[in-house]
Symmetry: C2
Subunit: 326 residues, 2 copies
């Protein structure tokens, strides 16, 4: 059986500054379940991080998200930064081609034509892309993923999903592929998921789930999943147990990807990717104990880290402008 | 949530006669865990089914398999049917490009260069391909699968594996992809699998597993999984319970494929595919009860049925001859 040592080169620190190609001034937005990150892409390709806002409350968050983006664009224009093209990444099931938010449990929407609505409200063309595929494209074009023909960029945030590259092509299953957070890893007795199934990876290993579980069992409020990792490192046994379960879930899920599509590498992106060895070591050890005949993928952290979404959105503004001949 | 009715067109009967293109007289062999099927491909493309032999006994079955194929070829030549090119399908992890049997638990081999050995022993060029990918290619070129851009041909026999087509391309993960039989569907308390893991789909839903489980619990010897299906249909409650568990396992596994690669269709091939509605109805019902937001694939049976392997091998002889300019 082959056994690859995790590549040290996939454990490097994240990039401080990232540039995309030259092009029109653009608005880049990454809508998450917890917050909305926005950046302004200058003509020279520099991405200026503008603001992080909390995702609006309410069951169906689509109207609030749209209003927030319109306000952001207006404020930027007032400060002399007028975008002429935009790209917004959103979570859930997304039809990238048509720019439709097909479904999001976490954000409570169904079949919202975001691209059309935003293009009209903002007065310039806007593309809408699945957040995780957008981040994955960034990692593939500017990060570590381009080294591999077959690689999964697995983003862990409020939810978990993956950008799957096979033979160097991103596969999207008409918007339905990559929902890796909804692989059941702890049988049907596991925690109930927002999707309606039980035991999904997302219920034990997302940043939100790790934080929620710690708060539920300890009664102590934490700021997010990263704080639980820090607690685990500092010797908190409850935090360590929750982190152990999260990394076991990730290893189980990766083993299934190995049996089905046999990627050469898995790169973690999103909030947890900054955890480095604290994430990679337990996942690698557990994966080694699960895999038998399967190909052992390299396991690493995304080069772009939590920035991947914004960089992906910035790249998408260049793609859109090119497609429209702007 | 969308809900596609299973397409009646995917429930048709299997083909009686199948032809591949014109070409050299050829030997086509499909090596399974239970038996070896061999056919002679005439110059006009007609596939003449020659013989079905039991797979040789012994821990490492590679030498016996090779000797059997050589004997077959010699016997054919004596009867005036001299092959000038050959193709052999084998199970396990297979490097199709190099014709190497990388690993097979069921047949007990590791890193056997079958293509090189057989080319030398037979005196004509022989390609070696993963059995399930070979069957999948046949179904894609001559069966129902070609209607879909994204489809999985799931072959159930001694083991279970799939040929995964994404954007009309067969993906092989350097030989490691498609090992769908080793997705755990009943948690780690499930039956131990030959692969070393527990609870794999293959341990509850392969034709061999269904037969084995019935024999174990009833003490009654059955000829194979199909006999258990017939018993279930005739009112045998034990057989019905085992079949129920097998189809639940298949539905669970398909739901995971839906979350990861979101195929438009799943086509069953191999021995069980002749079961038609007895297979399709329970799998479809269970899948409907599991899926929530995922795209519901069409579920059908392969057009080529149990013949897919031999047809796939016959097609591969044409591909090999073309590649070599013969």
């Amino acid at each position: 059986m082959r056994n690859y040592a995790p590549s040290p080169s996939l454990r490097g620190t994240t990039m401080d500054t990232v540039q995309v190609g030259k092009g029109l001034p653009a608005l880049a937005v990454d809508v998450g379940g917890t917050n909305i990150k926005a950046g302004f892409v200058h003509e020279n390709g520099e991405i200026e991080k503008v603001v992080i806002l909390p995702t609006p409350p309410g069951k169906n968050k689509a109207p609030g998200v749209i209003d927030t983006i319109v306000e952001l664009s207006d404020n930027l224009a007032e400060s002399g930064r007028s975008a002429r093209v935009g790209s917004v990444l959103i979570p859930g099931v997304v039809n990238d081609r048509k720019g439709i938010g097909v479904h999001s449990e976490n954000l409570g929407w169904d079949n919202v034509p975001f691209a059309d609505i935003l293009t009209e409200r903002l007065g310039y063309p806007v593309s809408v892309t699945h957040d995780v595929r957008g981040s994955g494209i960034a990692e593939y074009q500017l990060g570590y993923a381009h080294r591999f023909d077959n690689v999964v960029v697995l983003t862990i945030g409020t939810g978990i999903a993956g950008a799957i590259f096979i033979n160097r092509q991103l596969i999207d299953g008409d918007g339905f592929a990559g929902e890796i957070g909804h692989i059941p890893v702890f049988g049907s007795n596991g925690p109930l998921c927002v999707c309606g199934q039980a035991g999904c990876l997302e219920t034990v290993a997302s940043a939100a789930a790790v934080a929620r579980e710690y708060q539920r069992l300890s009664g102590i409020k934490v700021m997010g999943g990263k704080e639980v990792i820090d607690l685990a490192l500092s010797g908190d046994t409850l935090a360590a147990r929750i982190w152990d379960r999260a990394t076991l879930g990730l290893a189980k899920c990766i083993s299934q990807l190995c049996s089905i599509i046999a990627p050469e590498a898995i790169l973690f992106a999103g909030g947890f990717s900054g955890a480095g060895d604290t994430l990679l070591n337990p996942v690698s050890e557990k994966l080694d104990s699960i895999l038998t005949f399967q190909r052992r993928p390299e396991i690493g952290c995304s080069k772009l880290g939590a920035k991947a979404g914004l960089v992906g959105a910035a790249l998408q503004t260049r793609t859109l402008a090119e497609r429209l001949g702007l």
